[in-house]
Symmetry: C2
Subunit: 394 residues, 2 copies
């Protein structure tokens, strides 16, 4: 069966490499890229004209590894309408335009698959969609971005400031020159939006999700929470609340020692899914990397080949903005660090809170409280708020 690969960057070239050497049932017929790759062993397959792929009826499966929304959306739409299966690793495309694309796929009775869009080579989309489907999913909490987890691990283990850790990540190729998408949480946000759609059945657009990166984390707080065995990680959360609303957020969070996410360090990713039948199950591994991500793309392509005439039921509905809870009104535990406050008064004002002995300033973990209420309490105490970080529930 013939495959076309659109985008010959890191992931796309990994896909071609795996397909060439593994002797699978898939042959690469075209590689679409506007750049030239002199001396590349796949020279005969290159094209700069998308229409070569679109109009070739012997191409059944198209792999999209260009990244970005444009022209990826246009190309993928046209391929689906032409009855071709499409596999992508492009999380921005899925998070922003996924609803339109799965709808097009359904209308044209083809598959649109995106295992590689979350967690790189870690199996998560298919296990969540198929293996766990006898569950009602209660929540998903994930370390979804390896760059930020690497930086935070440096900050935790080596007491290194954010800027310095970022530089090391860049020097090692773990962070891009412009690290905004990673460190501001946008990449993690796209991924939690995709997982939320699969788990709870409605599209969530990244712009509607509260997203906070790791640039403002103070080493003081990293050290404080270490005293209770906890770690600060960038956590993407989507959770179904008892009133039916979805609590979806990307932000730094305190991961307690008892959590399986606590020991997930360096560039590793992990996704913890809590289902009503299975309880917590976790998927762990490297969330990026050429061959890892490419292997997930190839697995999807093989699935498409096997399901040439049978659509896999991957689907969700439109966004329901009214279902997205205001994160400031959702009860949670928080880590709080205050200055200019009486310790006893602070603890009394936050029932159920536990002081962190030996920490700087007045630092404690609260009982359940909303962010809005906590802010009011701190105001009434006349205290200076130095840090407030949610405690991850997983």
């Amino acid at each position: 069966m013939n495959v076309a690969v659109m985008g010959y960057g890191t992931v796309g070239s990994g896909v071609v490499e795996i397909l060439n050497k593994r002797g699978l049932c898939l042959d690469v017929k075209y590689i679409l890229d506007l750049r030239d790759f002199p001396g590349d062993e796949n020279a005969s397959k290159f094209t700069k004209d998308f229409n070569d792929i679109l109009t070739d009826t012997t191409v059944d499966i198209v792999v999209e590894t260009m990244g970005g929304q444009n022209p990826a959306f246009d190309f993928v739409s046209k391929c689906l309408k032409a009855g071709k299966h499409v596999v992508t690793s492009n999380k921005e495309l899925v998070a922003e335009r996924g609803l339109e694309l799965i709808t097009l796929a359904k209308e044209n009775n083809v598959n649109f698959m995106f295992e590689a869009s979350v967690g790189g080579g870690i199996p998560i989309i298919r296990p969540l969609t198929f293996c766990l489907r006898a569950n009602n999913i209660r929540s998903i909490n994930g370390i979804l971005n390896g760059t930020t987890n690497f930086i935070l691990t440096k900050m935790i283990r080596e007491n290194m400031a954010f800027d310095e850790a970022l530089k090391i990540a860049q020097d090692n190729g773990y962070a891009e020159k412009d690290p905004t998408a990673d460190v501001e949480g946008h990449d993690a946000c796209r991924k939690i939006c995709i997982l939320s759609a699969l788990a709870f059945g409605n599209h969530v657009y990244p712009k509607n999700v509260h997203c906070e990166g790791i640039t403002k984390i103070a080493l003081e707080d990293v050290a404080n929470v270490a005293k209770i065995g906890a770690a600060i990680k960038l956590i993407g959360t989507t959770e179904k609340l008892s009133d039916g609303k979805i609590y979806i957020i990307v932000s730094p969070a305190i991961v307690l020692e008892s959590s399986q996410l606590n020991s997930v360090s360096d560039v590793f990713n992990a996704v913890l899914v809590d289902g009503d039948a299975t309880d917590e199950v976790m998927f762990f591994g490297k969330g990026a990397g050429k061959l890892a991500t490419a292997s997930a793309v190839v697995a999807d392509a093989l699935d498409c080949a096997e399901h040439k005439d049978l659509r896999r039921p991957i689907f969700w509905g439109p966004e329901k903005p009214e279902l997205i809870a205001d994160y400031r009104t959702v009860e949670n535990q928080y880590y709080i660090r205050l200055k200019n406050v009486d310790k006893t008064a602070a603890l009394a004002a936050f029932p159920g809170s536990k002081i962190i002995d030996g920490a700087s300033d007045v630092s404690f973990i609260t009982g359940k409280v909303t962010e809005n209420a906590a802010v009011e309490i701190i105001k009434s105490l006349g205290a200076d708020l130095c840090a407030m970080i949610r405690v991850a529930k997983a």
Copy 2:
């Protein structure tokens, strides 16, 4: 679509519960069990006659949750031959008779699925078979039995002797009255055999695997390895060696602090798969439990329903006993504890070894050595061997 459930024990009744309450596309038409369940809400569906199921052409999918090989093998074979898809949670059946059953399934163009046979509700069979198939699997290491992991966690954290920890496990329903299958490693052995077949393509019969349980683990060794942050766990390993042979073993193993398996405690299971594209990916969760295991069975049944006329490519070949390495000849690191030996002489005899400071007797982690060679060295030292435990490579 109609389903028949054979065996109304813990898992089978969980399957019926999920199918009844989830409003899925599957209806339970028969429940086969020789026992009576007076007052059960599914009374109208019970039968004691397997032929009711076999001859009913409206039953497309049969769930086998009886356990054991007989009559499960006979019933499952007949169902497959009759063109019915079969889903099972029965690891003994898959490990001992899986080859015959997948062959029958293939011949009759139906599916034989067994996600629940390893790791309960944790997705592992399908991710390994489908999501990771663009990888060459290098090894699988797993904590595959919750009962023994619970007992070992008690020994590690509370310095509790094996017998006492076993009693608590039994009192809490985590261990059976006759705990042999768990504590002697037979249960874990069946599971690593199944994973090995899927990863490397040939059936491995449990009787051909070196299998050692946890009953002989001394608290002294638990305490010694804790000094370097390591833990003793019951680990099932299957690994492709550079000579093409398979190193497959179930035994206690030292799990170093750097391993993601180190923090897997209590009744939790985890399977670490090392692929040449993804590197290590891990699947974690509760490895047993009524609804968790039942949810995996139901997911398989739904997959069968979607693939009513399309076989999922789950297949492997016959055992090749010549491919199974003698574990005593495979190089590994070992934890060794010796008495009546000079420390310096012992360390000199094991190049690359690292003493465990503060441990009892002469305790150290070796460099790479085979078990056969290590035994010879210890003999030549005239030392008393108190403990020798392999170091898990994951």
